[in-house]
Amino acid sequence: MVPEPFVVVDRRRDTADTCTLQLEPCAGAPLRFSPGQFTMLSAGGAGEVPISISGDPDRPERLVHTVRAVGLATAAICGGSPGARLGVRGPFGGPWPVAGIEGADVVVAAGGIGLAPLRPAILWLLARRERFGRLVLLYGGRAPDQLLYRDELGAWSERGLEAHVTVDSAGPEWLGHVGVVTRLVHRAGLDPARTVVMSCGPEVMMRFTVSALTECGVPRERIYASMERNMQCGIGHCGHCQLGPTLICRDGPVYRWSELEPWLAIREL
């Protein structure tokens, strides 16, 4: 339960309130992880928060986290310039189902900062590109200046990712899609028999995206979502992250939509 000290070796500002940090352990081996897992990050005296790992699982030497500053702890973490020390516990949680879906068309459906926990899955899949059918990214954000990893999308496309990006609204200089990410689903021309979906974003966005996917015939058993509730310990002790019969930090955060759906339908569960 005691954090390991890590030091910030690189800090990049992604958007007005989001930054990406690269960390290295102060002592000991790098933190190995599977795509979709998270750590509990502590800043000195400002509390501890769960943050998805957004780095490349094949290159764990640097622990990468994309953090949105919305409270005391995340603001302190985001404020950490190179040389600052953070506490890290983890990795916790279960991974995206990247192993065992060989031959499938894989759709990554992300909204807002939800692309951060999916980035490790994208990198893992691209490194093994020949094992899969289509790799499709459907990514929705609020506005062009709030999209993550824009500079990487080109490289990912070259490596065989079909990237479709949309924003809720934009100025006239934006040449891409405008509209909700659900509209991208209908345009993607998916083959439901071969498609597996991994989704992360605001819960409302995921519900509507799944609705569009199931309208296109993708079965709920092959749609996976990463869930979030108030998480405090990360290890199944504090009780906060309960969603009905499941503890998200322990049994999730990745779930099959077919398991989740009945519980998400209950208001205020």
């Binding site: 769960p50 943050i51 900062i113 809720d168 100025g171 409302v204």
Partner: protein
């Protein structure tokens, strides 16, 4: 070589219409090629046409002083642009600008309205399809309205 009727028959919104109805609709249409950056519709102007996009893209915009033009939706090949031609007072409610060089079928809305008055079955078929499209766009718009990326999803 695809005729205009073949193109019209291929539009998802018009799927399932009878050949004779498709013929009536195609009779009100003509092919058009437009450069990028051209305004096909302007807020407040008479809505006497609507468009089927064959290639390219059209951005729907609302202009507001101080903020300039804000794109609130983009439409793509296979999609219809405009429904204000079907409902009084027959005036555009926002701007529509081609994002890039665009190939369209432009339909004469007044002409087609007349044909719908004469053939109520045609009118019913078109109304129900446009209504279904409106429902989808309304739901999508509601989701945009929630601004889900604005205040949610902090802790990742």
């Amino acid at each position: 070589m695809r005729t205009l009727e073949d193109v019209v028959a291929g539009a998802p919104l018009l799927a399932g219409l009878s050949r004779s109805h498709l013929g009536l609709i195609a009779g009100c249409g003509r092919n058009q090629r437009v450069d990028g950056g051209i305004y096909l519709l302007r807020e407040g102007e008479p809505a006497d046409r609507f468009f089927l996009i064959r290639e390219g893209a059209v951005a729907l915009e609302i202009h507001s002083p101080g903020r300039g033009a804000i794109i609130i939706e983009t439409l793509h090949p296979g999609e219809m642009v405009g429904w204000s031609w079907l409902f009084a007072p027959y005036r555009w409610q926002l701007d529509g600008r081609t994002v890039e060089p665009t190939a369209l079928v432009a339909f004469d809305g007044a002409c087609l309205r007349g044909k719908c008055e004469a053939d109520h079955e045609l009118g019913y078929q078109l109304m129900s399809r446009f209504a279904a499209n409106l429902v989808q766009r309304l739901q999508a718009t509601r989701l945009q309205l929630l601004d889900v990326y604005g205040n949610d999803r902090a802790l990742r």
